[in-house]
Symmetry: C2
Subunit: 173 residues, 2 copies
DNA sequence: GTCTATAAACAGATAGAC
DNA sequence: GTCTATCTGTTTATAGAC
């Protein structure tokens, strides 16, 4: 692993656990086993490092839900959406914790980012003859947001049982 | 209003909007129209000020949901719980934004804080003959958490329509 | 209670050697 | 690419006068 990668790794870890503002470049350098100046050589500024980290993994979200947008079976659309927060591997938690943290720490909330998914969900519910498809889609989306928060904040969640419950609730079994 | 109260008010506002770490005591003093030293006179440290702010409003959460715990009609329990995030006046948003922010910024997450409410919800669902009352309670709680997040992060939510939809969904009309 | 002045540590960032 | 040394402004916090 190059020193640049070590900085990215240490930055992700510290930003995700301690927060962006609360993490000094000095702390990152120590954690990465690197001189502080190297951070600025590679990323110009502390914000540059943050951008690089966010960018590096930003496609992750799109990659996660684009298969759903392409799905043509409405039941499968809902099934896959439900599985979203429940199948993310724990090794990715750090990255996602950072994303959720940044929503609150910086004002960088992009409500439109999940709009394509909500629209697709809305389509799926309509297809299945559900009464208020748009509101059902918003409802499910908000629930999954809440569930993801709880998981990332360390609440014990039985993922298997939760998924079974949801599949039953949405009549997908 | 005393200067101490002015500090508390400015602190709440700034911590809620900019975050705890990103807000300097100097900024707070300026916003409150007070010398910086006065903050330390009254609250000993920056963290002391934070504690005072959190404590001052901590009972707010309890006061919000204790009426629900005392309710004996299961339908009314669910109705009141749903109304929780939808009836908080916008003037209280600042305080709640701070609470949500702190969950991520400090590691001070108290998952047990909402447990009494979840237990009561679970009781209500059981009383109404719902199949998986415990999981239904968790589900509703997570949804409301997600909804509250969205609202506090500035998403446009039609509260009236949302409440109508939920009352219909939970067969409370 | 409240201020001015200031200490001491720490922040992000740069210069220049290797 | 990587380091040591250092600059400059800011941060939390205190001392002491009123």
């Amino acid at each position: 692993m190059t020193k640049k990668e070590k900085i990215l790794e240490a930055g992700l870890k510290l930003f995700a656990t301690e927060g962006y503002t609360a993490t000094s470049t000095n702390k990152i350098a120590n954690a990465a086993g690197v001189s502080e100046a190297l951070i600025f050589r590679h990323f110009l500024s502390k914000e540059g490092l943050l951008s690089a980290i966010v960018k590096e993994g930003e496609s992750a979200f799109k990659n996660l839900y684009t298969p759903i947008l392409k799905e043509s079976d409405p039941k499968e659309v809902i099934r896959l959406t439900i599985a979203l927060p429940l199948t993310v591997p724990e090794s990715h938690y750090e990255f996602w914790r950072l994303q959720f943290r940044l929503k609150w720490e910086l004002q960088s909330v992009n409500h439109k980012k999940s709009q394509p998914l909500i629209d697709k969900l809305s389509w799926a519910f309509a297809e299945l003859g559900v009464a208020h498809p748009k509101q059902e889609a918003e409802f499910l989306s908000d629930y999954l947001e809440g569930l993801a928060s709880q998981i990332l904040l360390g609440k014990e969640v039985n993922k298997k049982k939760t998924e079974e419950f949801l599949l039953l609730k949405y009549k997908l079994t």
